[in-house]
């Protein structure tokens, strides 16, 4: 799965996610990616999220929308991402990752799996990572 979130100069947010799905999946199996609120969500009033991980678990917690609910309650992009991933892991044992932005230009790249390749560009600086802690 691959995905992106962005905030343009006018403060509009958007998300996009695309995937081949799960390895050796049943024919016709559809995961979280095309499901609004699970594979991605975007609202100028709170932010945008793109998710990756085990789709059946992401759908159980509607992970993308869950992150934004926490941000609407005042949590930062990073805290909201971490607490939502922790909920998915504790509630249904699911692993995954998210990239998150808010309309003011705060961002996060968080994951509960062993790794997630990510990159961010802001103010002319490129940030990137793959393993936890990078």
């Amino acid at each position: 799965t691959v995905g992106a979130v962005a905030v343009d100069a006018e403060g509009n947010v958007a998300c996009a996610t695309s995937t081949g799905g799960m390895l050796n999946k049943m024919e016709g199996r559809v995961g979280d990616t095309p499901c609004i609120g699970s594979g991605g969500y975007a609202d100028n009033l709170s932010g945008a999220v793109s998710t990756t991980g085990y789709g059946e678990d992401i759908m159980k917690v509607t992970l993308a929308r869950l992150v934004l609910f926490h941000m609407e309650q005042g949590q930062s992009a990073e805290a909201a991402s971490d607490v939502s991933l922790a909920y998915m892991k504790s509630r249904v044992g699911g692993l995954g990752g998210v990239v998150t932005v808010d309309p003011r230009g705060n961002w996060a790249a968080c994951f509960s799996s062993r790794q997630m390749s990510w990159a961010a560009a802001q103010g002319g600086t490129l940030h990137h990572g793959l393993y936890a802690g990078e």
Binding site: C15, A16, W118
Partner: protein, 166 residues
Amino acid sequence: MLPLVVVHGGAGHVPKERSENSAMGVCSATQAAYRILQDGGSSMDAVVEAVTRLENNPFFNAGCGSVLNVKGDVEMDAIVMDGRTLASGAVSAVRNIANPVQLARLVMDKTSHACLTAEGASQFARSMGVVEVPQESLITEYARMRWRNNLEPSANPVECQMGKMG
């Protein structure tokens, strides 16, 4: 500080020998999207560009490089959503499409629906002039090797793809 773009290449297990290509892929996709934003482009244009680049990169599980289903075929899903209008578009179980994210955007822009699936999505693609590609062009040797390795009844494809608990 605006504008800003953040990209991910998937939270699955990336073998060491592929991690460098994975890191380079997300960085170049991010830079391409950021250039669009710096030129005054929309956040929707930026995220579609970033994901298109990764769909075209065989090191990622999307577009070319997708994992295979149990029959050895490629079925793909994609979504886009616009935070200004809450409009969204998605496709699921689509085949023979190089860039499902661009088809998802057409669903958002050209239909009143949120998602089109399987043969219906393919018919819509044809009506929009989206060129179909042979499935072979989407399948990599790495994807075929993982598919074969996980056909055994004892295999654990989810753990193979996601890696063990982090």
